[in-house]
Amino acid sequence: MVTKELQNDEAIRRILSRTKPEMPSDDFTSRLMERIEAVPEPAKGWMIRYQWMVLLSSFAIAIFLLFFPIWTWFGFEFTPGQFLLYYAAEGFRLLSVWLGEALSHLGGMGKMMYLLPVSVAILLLVALDQSVKRPVHKTTQA
């Protein structure tokens, strides 16, 4: 049955080969590219369009907020430099405590510690697989 279908398909193709496919007009591509050139780029979201302004504004606001509590509502008596140093030291202290606790938990895992490098290896393999799947093409100048 399948062979008969293949034979029929081949016969139809030979019949249809008596006719030639139509061609679009000669200036099809040039007219199309003129339209393409006139097409505006898809509108980007405002955060992408003004991304540098957003970043700079956020940075400025963050710096301002670091100093603002000192002068008004919170009644701190720190100078700006002291405030930053205090919180940097406090942050470092908290990070050290957390790291110490985390490492002591890891030490208590015993044989289960094996899972940690295995997990890292699996993650790396997945990342490698994903990067290999994407075709890498070098762009060349026209």
């Binding site: 193709r13 019949i15 496919p21 099809f28 590219m33 393409i36």
Partner: protein, 189 residues
């Protein structure tokens, strides 16, 4: 190889090289136009539909994920645009079911065709194709003329694989019967 070339040019366009899109247009414009033409059966409309489809493809290029061939993705846009056009125009395609069953085989039809002038052969085959429904005409182009796989055609048309196979079977039968009928009329003249 051609598929990888298409992806290369797609990435080039996305990187800002608009001129690379012309390469994709030149490569796929013929089939895009023919798909549209088989559906709408009007040359100027088919060109406009094909052009609109290419513009839409350009604007939506970022949404092309690469999980199908670029050509399959593009022709799907063309196919859908052409089908929408026929619905908007409320084009009616009536089929005159006056086909006559015959025992003649396809090979015999080929032999009969060979006896007729080349121009007349093309005219007969085109008439037979034009008697098909619009989507059937597109399937003829995709499967028989351009030799796309059933899977690709399924992606382009949105029909299931089994649906495509059933339609192709019906198309074969219709073409075969129409050509046979035309042969009979031609020999009577």
């Amino acid at each position: 190889m051609k598929e990888q070339d298409d992806i290369y040019h797609v990435q080039s366009v996305l990187a800002g090289n608009t001129a690379a899109f012309a390469v994709l247009v030149n490569r796929h414009k013929d089939l895009a136009f023919n798909i549209a033409l088989k559906i709408v059966r009007h040359r100027e409309d088919a060109e406009e539909i094909a052009q609109d489809a290419f513009v839409k493809a350009y604007q939506s290029l970022r949404s092309f994920k690469g999980d199908s061939k670029f050509s399959t993705w593009l022709y799907r846009i063309v196919y859908n645009a052409a089908i929408s056009h026929t619905r908007k125009r409320q084009q009616e395609f009536t089929q005159i079911d006056d086909r006559v069953m015959s025992d003649t085989t396809e090979d015999e039809i080929l032999e009969d065709l060979d006896r007729i002038e080349t121009d007349q052969q093309a005219k007969m085959v085109n008439t037979a194709i034009n008697r098909l429904l619009p989507d059937e005409g597109a399937l003829v182009t995709l499967f028989y003329m351009e030799e796309n796989s059933i899977d690709d055609i399924s992606h382009i048309t949105g029909l299931s694989v089994s649906n495509v196979k059933v339609k192709l079977h019906r198309i074969r039968k219709k073409l075969y019967e129409d050509l046979q009928q035309m042969m009979v009329k031609a020999t009577l003249v």
